[in-house]
Symmetry: C2
Subunit: 197 residues, 2 copies
């Protein structure tokens, strides 16, 4: 069954970004702290990680058959230049499609009728693989709508003190989880939780 | 060397209490989810935990030679009835000592000249053992003052959505950590981090 999964690098104190979009050099230091090269679908970008983190990333890259992303993440990354590292169809949840998107042939679909529609469309093309949801605000909406099956947290040994919380305020808290499965790396602990219904 | 350590059960989204002091039945469910009995220094209270968590708790009980606690925690617990589960001297940081403390012979000291003084006094009696600091607000003050050496987080598979954050806003963020060492139990992941200076 196709699962809906959200994945994030998070500080020990629960932030996926520090104040004013800071802290990424800490949160993603583990992408560059090893000697195993893991290529992404984007030839301009590869990971340089520990063996444990390499296994984790390879599995993630193989896991996702489609992604649902928010408009803000799309804008911040400039739509990954039309070439997302996962190399799969991307469904961008937005109120209005961009008028000047310079990569019309890239596998990006702009979904203007909401997250549920985007998840449904993503599942339809993911085949046997899973649907990823990013970033935090989309993940929270998916959780609130009962659509989220799994949370993959890359827990980083840093305290950011303030910033953007993993999911923010939930509509239906508390939410209990099962797990985690744990993979201990250097500079990160990979945790995988299932959302209980 | 005597270390200053803070320990907390925390939700995956970074809360040590839910809204309006809720959520403890989730955060401390692991205290009661196993078949290994671990007595505390208080004969009215014992833990009933998994073997892994039993090892963790026994080590904590043996680790601390003194505790520094805030007045709020002292009040909420009614001073543990004069009998803290750790069975060690307790230094209560407060603006004013209580006038009606009904356990004058219990090993409680009311410290009115601040956290640093309390930590100094606690270290003096801890001997070869370590000093624990609780709860979150005291831990944050200790971290801000450069006094905190270690964070022990019992990470619980629940999302509380809002409430009291682990440490709150830090004076000097980000703070990098080393570790963690990991002990995987059921219903909790025991993580131990060293604070980098």
């Amino acid at each position: 069954m196709t699962k809906v999964i959200s994945s994030a690098s998070m500080s020990l104190d629960g932030f996926i970004a520090g104040p004013s979009e800071s802290g990424f050099e800490y949160l993603f230091a583990w992408h560059r702290n090893g000697d195993v090269n893991v290529p992404s679908a984007d030839p301009r970008w590869s990971f340089q990680v520990t063996e444990t983190s390499a296994d984790h990333i390879r599995e993630q890259l193989a896991t996702f058959g489609a992604l649902v992303v928010g408009r803000r993440l799309f804008d911040v990354t400039r739509g990954w230049g039309g070439n997302h590292p996962c190399g799969v169809p991307i469904f961008v949840v937005t109120h209005r499609a961009p008028v000047d998107w310079p990569h019309p042939d890239a596998p990006f679909t702009f979904v203007t009728d909401g997250l549920e529609s985007a998840v449904r469309q993503a599942k339809a093309v993911a085949g046997e693989r899973h649907v990823g949801v990013a970033a935090g605000d989309m993940a929270r909406q998916a959780l609130d709508a009962g659509l989220l099956d799994e949370l993959q947290i890359d827990l980083v040994p840093v305290l950011l003190g303030s910033g953007t919380r993993l999911l923010g305020d939930l509509a239906h808290a508390p939410v209990t989880l099962s797990g985690p499965t744990v993979a201990e790396s250097i500079g990160v602990t990979h945790l995988r939780y299932q959302v209980n219904r």
